[in-house]
């Protein structure tokens, strides 16, 4: 990738848009941030570098918007950047993480940051860009720790534990303590909340070399009234489902399993046919426009060259495609 933009540029991207986080290659320091305007069908690449005159870092993992700032978690650079949502200029940063993965805002004064290779969830004060504490996760140590995505229902934040883990945590945001946990299948990789206040997660399942032997991947629906598994849908052995996403109404969930799949949250069985079929693609990231219901799927191509994002109407009709950075893996919607 050529870094030839020179001095920082001034952006003025007001209005609705979609951030695309391009992981880059692990240890290559070539993560980038792209921005797409869905009304104009136009994309701007490397906007973090162009706005700030510095690289984003190594492995851009996720992004969350809160209070007019975009919070970009750069995993292997151990940093969370706060950027202006219109100019993309850095407004602050938080360091001191082991391997940050996702950030969730409890309110204006407190956010949680999950981590890999650490048994602690970090508590931060976003006003001061400071780490203020930790939530210790039981039955994990420094090397086996893994906490991932977070969703909040009422006063509780729920967290899926991924790498070599098999549980969903329940955190009381008033005490910053884990008050319950639920065992699911091997390596729950993503987490969403539907309109009926139910959690959905997908587990990787395991191959023959896993610690507990082979296990079929599955989709779980978890009822939060009793924090118990309500329904479980098995995929086929060898399937690789991941990247669970949900529409704006919380009525349809989407995931990648080679193809892109869509299922009503009231369905009693897995869908028979995919919404979007793969075509020598490596689908790596997925999001649904919370307003239009359009589906965006990122193709990592070969993890080496620049990736492609495909945009589909809710019916599965291709309406746009655009080139982004290397290994596009996560999205973040700016709603206004």
């Amino acid at each position: 990738m050529e870094w030839d933009y020179g001095t920082p540029e001034h952006f003025d991207f007001s209005g609705r848009g979609l951030f695309i986080l391009n992981e880059g290659n692990f240890q290559y320091g070539n993560a980038t941030l792209s921005y797409y305007d869905p009304e104009r069908d136009s994309v701007s690449n490397e906007v973090f570098f162009r706005a700030n005159g510095m690289k984003l870092g190594d492995v851009a993992q996720s992004m969350t918007i809160h209070n007019g700032l975009g919070w970009v978690v750069v995993n292997h650079s151990h940093v969370v950047f706060a950027i202006d949502l219109i100019t993309f200029k850095e407004r602050g940063r938080i360091t001191g993480f082991t391997s940050p993965r996702y950030i969730h805002f409890v309110d204006d004064t407190k956010a949680y940051v999950t981590q890999l290779w650490d048994n602690r969830i970090v508590i931060i004060d976003p006003r001061r860009y400071e780490i203020t504490g930790y939530i210790d996760v039981p039955a994990m140590n420094q090397t086996s720790g893994s906490t991932e995505q977070m969703v909040q229902a009422g006063r509780y934040v729920y967290v899926n534990c991924w790498s070599y883990q098999r549980k969903i945590l329940k955190i009381d945001t008033e005490t910053d303590r884990i008050v319950d946990e639920l065992e699911v299948g091997f390596q729950p990789n993503s987490l969403v909340l539907d309109c009926y206040n139910r959690l959905w997660t997908i587990t990787d399942g395991a191959g023959y070399d896993a610690p507990d032997g082979p296990e079929t991947p599955a989709l779980y629906c978890i009822d939060l009234s009793d924090f118990a598994v309500d329904r479980r849908f098995e995929f086929y052995p060898g399937d690789t489902p991941s990247e669970l996403a949900i529409d704006g109404e919380g009525e349809k969930i989407y995931w990648i399993n080679g193809d892109v799949w869509c299922m009503d949250v009231s369905a009693t069985r897995l869908p028979l046919r995919p919404l979007v079929r793969s075509r020598s693609t490596i689908y790596y990231g997925l999001t649904v426009d919370p307003v239009s219901g359009d589906v965006y799927v990122a193709d990592a191509v070969d993890y080496q060259q620049n990736g492609t994002v495909y945009r589909y109407a809710p019916t599965g009709l291709l309406t746009d495609r655009f080139t982004v950075g290397v290994t596009p893996g996560a999205f973040c919607w700016k709603l206004n």
Partner: protein
């Protein structure tokens, strides 16, 4: 909003809503499978369906009117059928998927070594093939010797007292069909002596070597029956002192040298042709453009891989197609995989590479990272006979572990084509090791990891064997391959050239010096220039779900200016 409610009148003259019909299939997931040519009966339960009209349709075309649909499926594929119930209480619809599967008779994978099987009279040899689809109904295996049934069961212990040739047939059956595999067993009173020479490469297998006066040629004899120390060598009829299987000979004058080896009575003959070397091209050796002149990978997850990461196409089935693809692939800077141990790629520098006074003469680009080093042994050859072919003499570039404990030079590993798709590839080594190149479906789903352009049912690769450094951390579940110190492609050693670093996304360049060239016995060889470079996977190892260790190369260059 106007709502239409279907009602019926009860006996009191009051109206109540009729219940809507409901459909229930006996397969909760809505997926039915049937074999090609098979018949499928779909008979869903319908409740509240009195006086209902039932209908099956596919792509909008009605294929059955009635609740029960009996259908035949002549072609494999994925089909969808919509079942619609129209009743006084309303309309209900459910879709089902019908997966029509190809017939799957058993497959038989039996590793018959090169040259067939020869046994001593009265000894027993147990054949233990690997089968696919043996969990299907009616699976059975029968064994025949010269047409007569000899045994039943998955394995067979062959034994014969009389010498001669025996035709052995294994016949595996299941409900979908029968698969037969035949081979010959030769029974002898005493094992025959046989000796051959290690070929220069898979495709350059003529027993001729070219060199120049004063430059050694390594001749490696291969014999199963001769002990090290019992070999007798001669050159032009004059016996030489060597008694090992490796003889390194240095002709001092121009001419032909006839090399003969006697191994326990068996003989083999080779010719060394000593010539004046053809001078290098006028450009003296500079540039990054190379032509792939041989690509013989060992089986591996990227061989035949047609996804965008592998980039191959299923119509690459000949040597020419494979080499053309690999040349274009390198030109675009993308990796070419060499597969498991022994797989190699040979490139020709059109203008040669001059041995200079600098630290390095050429560089090879790989894609190693800290935890994933897949070292490739590097060999060089000068086109001394000037015919443009890599048929002269290979010299290994000494690396840090050339003489280390566990390193084996002249190793021979044979890979066997699996009998069916999506199977592990079996390998055996001449010194008694064996294993599998694992099929890792879900990550690399091409049917075969065995190269499509290798026609025989098995092939043998020769080279230098480095001991595996693969480490599995059970706490983190991470596999890692730490680097070797220096001297290997696709390995983050001390010879990684600054500037072509891991920060730019270009991958790393490793520098190599022609002055490190050695003959097979380790003696240094002086080369003023070379024309061919060969990179060969140096380690046989597997990282669980990550699959086999395989060296990858992304480019070659002599133009160090572009790297800095």
């Amino acid at each position: 909003m106007l709502m239409l409610v279907v009602c019926s009148c009860n006996i009191d003259g009051e109206y109540e809503a009729l219940p809507k019909p409901e459909i229930r299939f006996d397969h909760d997931d809505g997926i039915y499978t049937v074999k090609v040519g098979g018949t499928l009966t779909l008979a869903p339960d319908v409740t509240n369906g009195d006086d209902a009209r039932c209908e099956w349709s596919m792509d909008g075309v009605v294929v059955c009117t009635g609740r029960v649909w009996i259908s035949e499926w002549p072609e494999a594929g994925e089909y969808y059928a919509l079942f619609t119930v129209t009743a006084p209480g309303g309309v209900a619809r459910e879709e089902v998927r019908i997966d029509v599967l190809a017939a799957t008779p058993p497959t038989i994978s039996l590793s018959i070594p090169p040259g067939g099987i020869t046994l001593l009279a009265g000894s027993t040899y147990t054949f233990a093939p690997r089968y696919q689809h043996q969990d299907m109904e009616g699976f059975s295996v029968a064994w025949y010797v010269n047409g007569d049934k000899a045994a039943e069961g998955a394995e067979f212990g062959f034994r014969a007292q009389s010498t001669g040739h025996y035709r052995v047939t294994v016949e595996a059956s299941n409900i979908d069909g029968t698969t037969v595999k035949e081979f010959e067993v030769t029974v002898v009173d005493s094992m025959p002596s046989k000796v051959t020479f290690m070929p220069l490469s898979y495709f350059e297998d003529a027993d001729v070597r070219y060199t120049v006066p004063g430059r050694p040629v390594s001749v490696q004899a291969i014999s199963s029956g001769c002990a090290e120390g019992d070999y007798v060598w001669s050159v032009n009829g004059n016996e030489v002192a060597c008694r090992g299987s490796l003889m390194v000979y240095t002709p001092e004058a121009l001419g032909d040298y006839i090399v003969k080896v006697n191994a326990s009575g068996a003989e083999a003959v080779m010719k060394i042709v000593c010539v004046n070397a053809v001078a290098p091209g006028p450009d003296g050796g500079s540039g990054s453009e190379v032509d792939v002149v041989e690509w013989v990978p060992a089986p591996g997850q990227f061989i035949g891989e047609t996804s965008s990461i592998g980039g191959m196409t299923s119509d690459i089935v000949t040597r020419t197609q494979a080499e053309r693809w690999a040349t274009a692939r390198l030109k675009s800077g993308k990796f070419v995989s060499l597969g498991a141990w022994g797989g190699y790629l040979t490139v020709k520098f059109p203008h040669g590479v001059t041995a200079g006074s600098g630290q390095y003469d050429f560089a090879i680009k790989g894609n190693a990272i800290d935890t994933s080093n897949e070292p490739g042994i590097v060999w060089v050859m000068q086109d001394v006979n000037g015919n443009g072919l890599p048929d002269d003499e290979w010299y290994q570039l000494r690396g840090s572990d050339f003489s280390a404990v566990g390193v084996s030079h002249g190793k021979a590993v044979t890979y066997y084509r699996p009998g069916g798709a999506r199977m592990d590839v079996e390998w055996t080594s001449a010194d008694g090791l064996s294993g599998m190149v694992a099929y890792i479906g879900g990550s690399h789903n091409q049917p075969f990891y065995y190269p499509a352009w290798i026609e025989p049912e098995c092939y043998t690769l020769y080279g230098t064997w480095l001991p595996s450094r693969t480490v599995y951390d059970s706490a983190t579940g991470q596999w890692s391959n730490p680097p070797f110190a220096w001297g290997y492609a696709d390995n983050l050693g001390s010879d990684m050239i600054g500037g072509g670093d891991t920060q730019s996304g270009l991958g790393q360049w490793i520098g190599f010096s022609i002055s490190n060239a050695v003959a097979a016995d380790g003696r240094s060889v002086s080369l003023d220039h070379i024309d061919f470079v060969k990179v060969q996977t140096g380690v046989m190892s597997s990282g669980g779900r990550l699959g086999e260790l395989s060296t990858e190369v992304c480019g070659f260059t002599t133009d160090f200016g572009v790297l800095l």
